[in-house]
């Protein structure tokens, strides 16, 4: 569906995007993850034909971004970064304007506008001016604008930035519900955002792709094994000794002592059931176990790891 080949873009001397290539299949939800200024927005802007790449090209559904920009724009619904809106327009007026330029015929204009308003939950605000809307509703309007022509591809640049946690969940649900068979690209610098919504993640740093895969795959790159947190009440030295002798435990980190409880973080070798071993060890020594849990896949580490590394 989307085929990006070696695109680069510079702003003056700084290379915002440096030779990026990737593909997106129809129906995929792809996440761009990266720190601010990594080149996520620039890449999206090139795909939406707002910027044209200095080098390389991208094909969307067989259309080339250099030659068939209008055809491509028809297929894409785009929510730019910071969700720019004409603040002096009315909600309905704005959606009608977008719909008209999107070549939606007069006969179905009203139904399309109503549908977009309904999907995005703008119903009770549809007669207001955009300037009067709160941030969350502006974001909904931005989405409504991107959806109005029922595009095959949705490109959303940081759709949840600046929203409160409640609104973030709402917008996330909204994106999921409209997803269906649409191809979606979402960018974010917030990890849970991406792992919650995307099938596949591209980690971008300094204009280059530094990692890609499913959220699970990326997590397994980081430590290799799984991480266990545990708290053990018992004599400190003995506990540390016992843990060190435990088979399969590598990289034991002492997180400190609190009210007689020693807390540790351990990385386990693959396929060893370390949790059970810790339990038997503790019970054998007559200590008590206050905490034992396996850490969820931690994209955060991968992210920090990949994005702070010097890009060679």
């Amino acid at each position: 569906m989307i085929k990006v080949e070696n695109i680069s873009k510079s702003y003056g001397p700084t290379k915002a995007v440096n030779n990026i290539s990737f593909r997106v299949r129809k129906g995929d939800v792809l996440g761009f993850l990266g720190p601010n200024g990594a080149g996520k927005s620039t890449t999206m802007r090139m795909l939406t034909c707002y910027l044209s790449p200095d080098e390389g090209t991208a094909k969307i559904d067989g259309f080339d971004i250099h030659q068939d920009s209008i055809e491509i724009r028809k297929k894409i619904g785009y929510l730019p970064e910071n969700n720019p809106l004409y603040l002096d327009m009315g909600v309905i007026e704005y959606l009608k304007f977008i719909a008209k330029i999107r070549q939606i015929p007069k006969s179905s204009l009203k139904t399309k506008v109503d549908r977009a308003i309904e999907i995005c939950g703008l119903g009770s605000y549809s007669h207001k001016d955009i300037g009067e809307l709160s941030k969350g509703y502006r974001q909904r309007l931005g989405l409504a604008q991107a959806l109005i022509h029922d595009p095959e591809i949705l490109i959303l640049d940081e759709p949840t930035i600046g929203l409160d946690p409640h609104q973030i969940i709402e917008i996330r649900h909204l994106i999921k519900s409209i997803g269906g068979e649409k191809t979606i690209i979402i960018s974010s610098h917030i990890l849970p955002e991406i792992s919650a919504t995307c099938d596949r993640v591209l980690i971008i740093a300094k204009g280059q792709i530094v990692g890609s895969g499913t959220p699970q795959e990326l997590a397994s790159i980081s430590g290799g094994g799984l991480t266990i947190n545990t708290g053990i009440r018992g004599p400190r030295e003995n506990v540390i000794n016992a843990l060190n002798q435990l088979e399969g435990a590598v990289n034991i980190k002492n997180l400190g002592e609190e009210n007689g409880v020693n807390r540790f973080k351990l990385t386990a070798d693959k396929n060893k059931d370390l949790g059970e071993k810790i339990f038997f060890m503790v019970s054998k020594n007559g200590w008590s176990l206050t905490e034992l849990h396996r850490e969820e896949i931690n994209l955060e580490d991968v992210f920090l790891d990949l994005t702070t590394k010097e890009v060679s």
Binding site: R73, K74, Y86, E93, F97, I98, I101, Q103
Partner: protein, 236 residues
């Protein structure tokens, strides 16, 4: 074509979304009527010559004020990114924006028709110069607007856009004036007097509609709209 109309409607409506447009129209009417009536009864001539002779100077501020928002605001708000990722060609946006400003200007100028009617009733004016004067005013205004749009497309600051537009318009207005012509080297004189915005306005204002004058204004308009188009493309 439908895209141009859609852009035109949106832009035209946006002029009236704030009270600025009304303040603007009213102050234009008050100032021009005052300047006209002040001398009208003294001169005791039933013509609108004095009215049309001050128009280029009033337009000098009016037209840049109309256009200063049009690109600068889009850039400042970021809505230009929405606009330019819609399936619409850049030149359609340029034309749509130009036409909306042009119609706003025409509307404003047409509201001075009570002056023309007054003169028609109390005197027996030669209608040629009056029709010619209005036509010239529209063309001159169109040229100023095209310049103003271009100025707006190179900045995201409305004030900068306004001032740059005034400077360019002013330059085009005075290069055809006698004052400049006399001090210019001889070989430049025909070029300068041809390029000056004012001289063509005066010749249309005499009621003689010469296709060269119309062609002149159209080429100024096309030229600056073209520059405007380039300025937007450049951003890509």
């Amino acid at each position: 074509m439908t895209n141009i109309i859609t852009i035109f409607q949106k832009e035209f409506k946006s002029y009236f979304s704030s009270p600025v447009a009304y303040i603007f129209i009213i102050s234009f009417l008050v100032v021009t009527s005052w300047l006209f009536i002040r001398t009208f009864f003294i001169a005791d001539q039933s013509s609108m010559r004095s009215f049309f002779s001050i128009l280029p100077w009033i337009f000098l501020f009016l037209a840049p004020a109309i256009t200063m928002r049009s690109w600068a605001e889009e850039k400042k708000l970021g809505t230009i990114e929405i606009l330019m990722t819609l399936p619409i060609k850049d030149w359609e946006i340029v034309i749509g924006k130009f036409l909306s400003g042009f119609f706003f200007l025409i509307l404003t100028v047409c509201l001075t028709f009570p002056l023309a009617i007054t003169i028609y009733i109390i005197g027996s004016p030669d209608m040629g110069p009056i029709w010619g004067g209005y036509l010239g005013a529209f063309l001159l205004g169109g040229a100023y607007l095209a310049i103003g749009l271009f100025a707006s497309s190179i900045t995201e600051n409305q004030i900068v856009s306004f001032i740059v537009a005034i400077i360019i318009c002013f330059a085009f207005l005075i290069i055809g004036e006698d004052f400049v012509i006399f001090s210019a080297p001889a070989f430049l004189v025909p070029i300068l007097s041809y390029l000056g915005l004012g001289a063509h306005f005066q010749s249309i204002g005499r009621g003689v509609i010469d296709s060269r004058d119309i062609l002149y204004y159209l080429s100024i308009i096309v030229f600056f709209l073209f520059l405007n188009h380039i300025a937007i493309e450049q951003k890509k």
